[in-house]
């Protein structure tokens, strides 16, 4: 479990993390979402005691990390896949970290196997691709068989196969009863694996939702294509739907499900060429929630897909 209590970090005038209060629970994958610069990495550094909070506290399994007798067993973290000396082998990198709490070489070889880089364990880490670096970082996080696993953007640089593997790994770790806290700016990836979503913007908590609650936020609409959009539009509006035109022969319908749209078209005698239910993605929910809190917004705001 990770508990944040009024956690605040200011760098001079800039507030990176603003009175964040949050509990990350065991047995779940918690997705930590937010636009770039929202304070995700700073929050993770505060949890590890690497940065000193301006106010508030961060507790790992009930106490600050510095008070743990065996920090590697309380929390395993991956902050930066490049946080390795480029001339040290992957295995020696892990051995040096493991030695601090007396973890033996057997466990080092075991985590190398778990993340699938045992074949290159003697290679200088500087030769690793970003994806291999992420795997090595995960291996380091798992060394102490920790109750909390915290990963900052672990999907970055992974190939498609690696992404599927990482997803399964996160699920597996949570199913073992661990607390899994994973930051990402890739909403769609998180949507596939997380049980809970914590969304921050400008250092503030914007939402703390379960996957089911996110679905409730998601708007459903129906995309329908017809050679006679005017008649169909009239029929649908009469049935209480909200209709917007989307191109010359396509309508976007909200307020009716796809079965009702089909029924209305049949009654009105309008020919349909396409009828597709559209569920807004987590990305849309995320954009809606963070619109006001984006630190660096583009000159022309991107239109939500």
């Amino acid at each position: 479990m990770i508990e944040l209590i009024g956690l605040t970090k200011r760098y001079g005038e800039r507030t990176a993390v603003d009175a964040l209060t949050l509990t990350v629970r065991p047995g779940e994958v918690t997705g930590f979402l937010g636009p770039n610069g929202a304070g995700k990495s700073t929050t993770m550094r505060l949890i590890l005691g690497l940065d000193r909070p301006t106010a508030g506290r961060a507790l790992v399994a009930g106490m600050p990390l510095a008070e743990h007798r065996a920090p590697l067993h309380a929390i395993g973290a991956l902050l930066d896949a490049k946080g390795v000396h480029p001339n040290r082998s992957a295995r020696n990198h892990l051995r040096a970290l493991a030695a601090t709490t007396g973890i033996d070489d057997r466990r080092v070889d075991e985590v190398l196997r778990i993340v699938g880089i045992e074949g290159v364990s003697g290679t200088r880490a500087g030769r690793f691709s970003l994806g291999m670096g992420q795997r090595l970082g995960l291996a380091a996080a798992l060394l102490g068989d920790p109750t909390v696993v915290m990963l900052d953007e672990p999907i970055n640089g992974l190939d498609p196969e690696g992404i599927v593997w990482m997803r399964k790994m996160l699920r597996h770790l949570a199913d073992e009863g661990r607390t899994v806290f994973v930051s990402s700016h890739l909403m769609t990836e998180m949507a596939l694996v997380a049980d809970r979503f914590v969304i921050i913007g400008r250092g503030r908590l914007l939402a703390d939702l379960t996957a089911a609650e996110v679905q409730a936020h998601a708007v459903q609409s129906v995309m329908v294509r017809t050679p006679d959009p005017i008649s169909l539009r009239q029929a649908l509006c009469a049935a209480g739907a909200t209709v917007t035109a989307d191109g010359s022969d396509t309508l976007a319908v909200t307020g009716l499900d796809s079965a009702s749209v089909g029924r209305q078209a049949l009654r009105a005698g309008v020919e349909l060429h396409e009828l597709t239910p559209v569920r807004s993605s987590l990305e849309d929910v995320f954009v809606a929630l963070t619109q006001d809190a984006v630190e660096y917004s583009a000159q022309t705001p991107a239109v939500a897909a």
């Binding site: 550094r45 590890l48 005691g49 690497l50 940065d51 000193r52 990390l65 510095a66 743990h68 007798r69 065996a70 920090p71 590697l72 067993h73 929390i75 973290a77 902050l79 930066d80 490049k82 946080g83 390795v84 000396h85 480029p86 001339n87 040290r88 082998s89 020696n92 990198h93 051995r95 040096a96 970290l97 030695a99 601090t100 709490t101 007396g102 973890i103 033996d104 466990r107 380091a140 102490g144």
Partner: protein, 254 residues
């Protein structure tokens, strides 16, 4: 796992020991330096003119070039800190050892042990090779004749001191190039500048780290500090940056 797992000072030292020796460049740097110094010692002993020794045993010439090693150890001291800051490894290190001080203590201990062992091994090799190459008139001399052992001891002390000064500067500046330049400036450039300015060479000169080291080695001139005072000055040169580095590193965001 059977053994009780948890942080201990000894385990952090082991971790730093593994870090030091798991870089091939460390073997190469120390190996080449030691072989080079021993070889120069052998050559020096081979060509030394007994009449020019001024009462010293010839073995003194064999160990005279040990003074190169402290510079090498100083650079390794800097790198043992700045290497970790360069790539972000320091965050993994401090996440594993959140109180941080044990990491610095362990680095200092490992550096001190390696510095002492390197100087001792190199001195032994230089002395031995020198005995083979020397064919002057006077006796070659045992290591305990004259100032030979004192000179070697002072070189070992200097190597330990430079390594720890390097560690302190590396932790404070967190940048390899900057910390190495500062170290070289303090031990090589400042003494030259001070010696060129008359009023400074008398007042400040004896308190420089290089002068203190020469006083301890017994290889300087009359205007140096007495040995106990020189030892204290040398210790302060090493301890002050290191203590400041510990305080700053504990407080600073990593």
């Amino acid at each position: 796992m059977a053994r009780s797992l948890g942080l201990t000072e000894a385990r952090v030292v082991r971790s730093e020991w593994l870090k030091f020796w798991s870089l091939r460049s460390r073997f190469v740097t120390l190996g080449i330096s030691a072989i080079g110094v021993a070889a120069i010692g052998a050559i020096a002993a081979g060509v030394v003119d007994a009449s020019a020794l001024d009462g010293d045993p010839a073995a003194r010439a064999a160990v005279a070039s040990l003074g190169v090693l402290p510079i090498v150890l100083g650079v390794l001291g800097v790198l043992s800190a700045t290497n970790e800051y360069a790539g972000g490894l320091i965050r993994a290190t401090f996440a594993a050892v959140p109180s941080r001080t044990p990491v610095i203590r362990a680095k200092a201990l490992v550096l001190a042990a390696i510095a002492t062992a390197t100087v001792a091994a190199t001195a032994l090799a230089a002395y031995g090779l020198g005995a083979l190459t020397y064919d002057g008139g006077a006796a070659y001399g045992s290591p305990f004749d004259g100032d030979v052992i004192r000179f070697v001891g002072a070189a070992a002390l200097e190597a330990v001191g430079y390594a720890l000064l390097g560690l302190g500067l590396g932790l404070l500046l967190r940048n390899g190039a900057g910390a190495i330049s500062t170290l070289m400036g303090l031990v090589m450039v400042v003494p030259i500048v001070v010696s060129l300015i008359p009023w400074m060479s008398d007042t400040v000169g004896p308190y420089l780290i290089s002068s203190a080291q020469m006083a301890v080695a017994g290889s300087g001139t009359d205007d140096l500090l007495p040995v106990p005072a020189a030892l204290a000055v040398f210790a302060a040169w090493v301890a002050v940056p290191l203590v400041v580095a510990v305080v700053v590193t504990r407080r600073r965001d990593a």
